[in-house]
């Protein structure tokens, strides 16, 4: 512990405040009683698929494409997820299969 307990507490409270501001802001701007404007409804409809795209790329942000394993474990495991999901469309199976393949690749094949 490098900070004093009071400094630690204040840092934790600051981080919490910032995080919770980002979560509450839209709900405070557009309270339940009022109908949000059309553009907000439109964003509410198109943002989920767009943000899912963002999160997928975000997960791959630290992959080193030019060195190390060149992203092969990530791409192979993702291909397994896509293939399993196209085949059975079972969320748990797709995720378990992809994760198992990835663990095998990084622990054994590309270790």
């Amino acid at each position: 512990m490098r900070l004093t307990p009071m400094e630690t507490l204040l840092t934790i409270l600051a981080v919490t405040l910032g995080t919770q501001i980002t979560r509450w802001l839209p709900f405070l701007l557009f309270p339940e009683r009022k109908d949000p404007p059309g553009v907000v409804l439109y964003l509410g409809r198109v943002l989920p698929p767009a943000m899912m795209g963002l999160l997928v790329i975000y997960c791959f942000r630290n992959v080193s494409w030019l060195s190390g394993s060149h992203g092969v474990p990530e791409l192979l495991a993702t291909a397994v997820v896509v293939a399993l999901h196209g085949w059975k469309r079972n969320v748990l199976l797709s995720i378990a299969g992809g994760t198992a393949v990835y663990m095998l690749l990084v622990q054994v094949v590309f270790a």
Partner: protein, 232 residues
């Protein structure tokens, strides 16, 4: 409206299987976070406090480094707003679905993480289950997994009975699967591609550490600019 006890437990039964991938990911990542806190010299009490009141995976990892640097709460506040700005987009998307959720609503808003958002925004509401109860259980279960992982990591301080390297891929796989679920609906495809494209471009231009904010701005501009086309 089924406000009975049986309706509530039926919602739990429907919600639990949906949260299993998050359980895997959160237990692993929460554990890793707890270990880092322990390594930095902070006990289980501190590790849990941050998880209980802040509850934001990636930001908690950043906080570990803030707690080992010089004391600077203003930077900590600004950084947490930057790192979690995407949560405001989640809120915008959930205005409608979280409407009229009554007593559960404050907790639903408090606990809207990446993973919880991806589930509540993508999954179809199962037949015979009340919306409020379904979202409440998904949110509460995920919260519980994260707290459990954090506490276990801080207590164990780095000793795992098996090699879990790569297990955090479960969350990547979860996002890929939920992207595919969104993709099933034809109308979602352009927006999905815009999300992938803008973020990939932002990664190329700004690098791994600074990609989120530019990506959000970029995809917001493209989505707003293409409103006419995307609505058609």
């Amino acid at each position: 409206m089924d406000g009975t006890k049986s309706g509530f437990s039926r919602a739990l039964k429907a919600a639990f299987p949906a949260t299993v991938p998050v359980m895997t990911g959160y237990l692993c990542l929460g554990f890793a976070y707890g270990v880092l806190m322990a390594d930095a010299g902070y006990g289980v009490g501190w590790a849990l406090l941050l998880s209980v009141i802040c509850y934001a995976g990636s930001m908690e990892f950043v906080t570990v480094s803030l707690l080992t640097a010089a004391f600077d709460p203003i930077s900590a506040l600004l950084m947490s707003i930057m790192v979690n700005a995407r949560h405001s987009f989640y809120g915008l998307s959930m205005l409608g679905k979280y409407r009229g959720t009554g007593w559960a609503r404050p907790f639903l808003i408090f606990s809207l993480t990446d993973e919880t958002f991806s589930l509540v925004s993508t999954l179809e509401l199962p037949e015979g289950v009340e919306r409020r109860d379904f979202y409440f259980w998904i949110s509460l279960l995920n919260y519980g997994y994260w707290l459990l992982g954090s506490a276990a990591g801080a207590l164990a301080g780095g000793v795992l009975p098996f090699d879990s390297t790569g297990m955090d891929f479960a969350l990547t796989a979860l996002f890929v699967v939920l992207f595919l679920e969104q993709w099933q609906r034809r109308g979602n495809r352009p927006a999905g591609l815009i999300g992938l494209g803008c973020t990939a471009l932002s990664l190329l231009l700004f690098g791994a550490d600074n990609l989120v904010i530019p990506a959000m701005i970029l995809l917001l501009l493209v989505l707003l600019g293409g409103r006419r086309k995307l609505c058609a």
